[in-house]
């Protein structure tokens, strides 16, 4: 019911507004080039990509495989360093940072949601969500409380002590979203989050992303599926390492509400 009550209109949607002037951007990529040496030949994964994402945007980065979107995601996620170009994340210049500093940036500024869920086996949902906060040095009591809040938010309040192999794919992905938001990062970076999910779980997950977006989260989502990209407020398409399309759009309304997400946790039939 929340969604049909004009929820979409609450989302800032004004393609004409120069968003970057309103507030310092979360992501500012300019002329990003990434090249690899492959068998002695230099391969350009991205060629001069510039992209600005402001707070509150939900950006879908699209492209076929080999388009450079994974490279871009690694650079945005501070997992990789561009060969040339300038990147600042939430006002921090990422160039010239050592391994240690990059770890800290990833830990505090980015919440990762991976295609393969990437939860740590032999750890409960709660422990998985607590982990980034543990690395950030949050006290055990506080991180436990925050992890519980995050898991309740994604509708897994009753699955705190379950191990990842006891959870369905959709549930695992929701744990990883809880893990991503628990540190209250500037950016949620999702790499093909629905790639391993069936359509029903995908829809539920996108309802969750829509919800997060409405609460003002900045989300960058890599995907190659058009219907998943429709949930975003902006679509950036890459081909051969260059941006070929960058347009804002009215996000698609989820077919299920996030209430359904909360209540359907037992009926989630997705297989991995």
């Amino acid at each position: 019911m929340i969604l049909t009550r004009g929820g979409a209109s609450r989302v800032a949607f004004d393609p004409g507004a120069p968003a970057s002037l309103v507030e310092a951007p979360i992501i500012a990529l300019s002329n990003i080039v990434k090249s690899y040496m492959m068998g002695g030949v230099e391969v350009l994964a991205t060629r001069s990509v510039s992209l600005t994402v402001v707070r509150g945007e939900f950006v879908a980065v699209m492209g076929a495989s080999g388009s450079g979107k994974s490279t871009l995601m690694n650079i945005i996620g501070c997992l990789d360093i561009p060969t040339s170009g300038h990147y600042s994340l939430d006002g921090v210049n990422i160039r010239n940072l050592d391994d240690q500093a990059l770890s800290r940036i990833r830990n505090t500024k980015i919440g990762f949601v991976f295609q393969g869920f990437n939860l740590i086996p032999r750890m409960s949902a709660l422990q998985n969500v607590e982990l980034p906060m543990a690395y950030a040095g949050v006290k055990p009591k506080e991180r436990r409380e925050r992890a519980i809040v995050a898991l309740r938010l994604v509708g897994l309040g009753s699955r705190l002590e379950h191990f990842s192999n006891e959870l369905s794919g959709g549930q695992q992905q929701r744990v990883s979203i809880a893990r991503a938001i628990s540190t209250n990062p500037a950016l949620i970076l999702a790499d093909e989050p629905t790639g391993n999910l069936d359509s029903r779980s995908s829809n539920e997950l996108m309802a969750l992303f829509t919800d997060l977006h409405r609460h003002g989260r900045t989300i960058v989502m890599i995907t190659h599926e058009n219907d998943i990209a429709e949930y975003a407020s902006r679509v950036v398409e890459l081909r051969d390492g260059s941006v070929i399309r960058d347009q804002r759009q009215r996000p698609r309304l989820p077919s299920v509400s996030s209430n359904t997400v909360t209540s359907s946790q037992d009926g989630d039939g997705s297989e991995v």
Partner: protein
């Protein structure tokens, strides 16, 4: 601190995910640690038994062996260099030899003892009562031969446990009975407590009699003794006692200490020699055990490398969500340390249990230092063997690790 604790829990859980493999890895360390403890215990047990054998010769004693004739071998004009009663009284004089506790003249011979139809071949020691004290014989029943017996040439004897059981049926009391030594009859006045067999010689196959009676009945009258058993006042002053005795004997025979034709067996130096050789032996055993511990360490390292490879993806996730290098390093170091330390503890238990049994005729004696040593080594094995794999894990680039299938 709580972080350390949760790391430990994580490590144990990680280890628990593949019990069989972990147990086999632990087994390597376990065997290494157990063999260090057991082999050191065998080494210690061996040197302890050698020491006991030497102790059985007496406490703090010097044995002076007579030459039985002239010192012709030296080429000097020394005649009649004997150990005689004069030597005994000179050495007994506390002014001459302040570090000597007692001097016992010794005449040794071997006879066949007969009691009715039972016979037993035994050595007979003709001496004085101080001999029993110096050579650690105790009388378990009856009495020791006395000074009065020596003066009166009494044909009385104390017999060792083997002689008693060889000549008398079980349950009978040999005290007060007479037996024949050669052709002479001697009365048993005391039974000696068993000293046990010490190596090749049986210290219980012995008859102790007044030397006067032995001279009368068995060896014939002689001015000289085959040896003197001298007890020093303490182990520390035994060397002093030795030089005192040598000076006295040299003066008595108008010669120099260097030219004395007597051999002096110093029990303290015998123990020192035996101890140093058994220490070498123990060290050798320790090295053998250390090699098996090294093999165990290689096992730990191997399995940690496998673990790191298997968990590359997990490492990638951890690094992606913000684990610093040092955190990953610590995590894997803790794992390897927990594995090898648990192996070490189990190995120590196994080593202690095995050391309770007699191995190859040696009763192992647990060396007090071996357990902390073995555990310390096990702990450092975990850290050293775990370091390279942990470092490799910590150095993985998250982007590569995440892509790893």
């Amino acid at each position: 601190m709580s972080n350390m604790f949760s790391n430990l829990i994580m490590a144990v859980r990680g280890i628990g995910s593949n019990w069989l493999r972990t147990l086999l890895t632990m087994l390597g360390v376990l065997i290494g640690v157990a063999s260090v403890i057991v082999l050191l215990a065998i080494g210690t047990g061996t040197s302890r038994s050698i020491e006991n054998s030497i102790q059985a010769l007496g406490s703090n004693t010097l044995t002076v062996f007579g030459s039985g004739g002239s010192g012709a071998s030296t080429g000097t004009q020394i005649r009649n260099t004997n150990l005689n009663s004069a030597s005994v009284s000179l050495i007994s004089n506390a002014n001459n030899a302040p570090d000597v506790q007692s001097v016992s003249p010794v005449i040794t011979t071997s006879v066949t003892a007969t009691n009715g139809s039972s016979t037993y071949t035994t050595s007979v020691i003709g001496s004085t009562p101080s001999y029993l004290v110096a050579s650690n014989y105790t009388v378990s029943a009856g009495r020791s031969i006395s000074t009065a017996d020596v003066t009166s040439h009494s044909q009385v004897i104390d017999i060792g446990a083997s002689v008693a059981s060889g000549l008398f049926p079980v349950g009978s009391n040999p005290l007060g009975q007479q037996i024949e030594l050669g052709s002479a009859r001697f009365t048993i006045v005391g039974l000696l407590a068993s000293k046990g067999s010490t190596g090749l010689t049986n210290a219980d196959a012995v008859v102790i009699a007044p030397y006067t009676a032995v001279q009368d009945q068995l060896t014939g009258e002689s001015q000289s003794f085959s040896e003197l058993l001298i007890q020093g006042k303490s182990a520390a002053t035994l060397s002093l006692a030795q030089s005192e005795v040598q000076s006295i004997l040299a003066a008595q025979n108008d010669t120099t200490v260097a030219a004395l034709p007597f051999n002096v067996l110093n029990q303290a130096s015998l123990i020192t020699t035996a101890t140093s050789s058994s220490k070498t032996f123990t060290a050798l055993l320790g090295w053998v055990a250390a090699v098996s511990l090294l093999v165990g360490a290689i096992g730990v390292m191997n399995i940690m490398l496998v673990t790191v490879t298997e968990r590359t993806r997990e490492i990638g996730i951890r690094k992606a969500i913000g684990a610093r290098k040092s955190v990953v390093l610590t995590q894997f170091l803790i794992e390897s340390t927990v594995i090898s330390f648990m192996g070490g503890v189990l190995g120590a238990v196994a080593g202690i249990v095995v050391s309770r049994f007699t191995i190859a005729g040696v009763k192992p004696v647990l060396a007090s230092y071996s357990i902390p040593l073995a555990l310390g080594v096990a702990l450092s094995v975990g850290i050293v063997a775990g370091f390279y794999p942990a470092y490799r894990a910590a150095s993985l680039r998250p982007i590569d690790a995440l892509r790893y299938e």
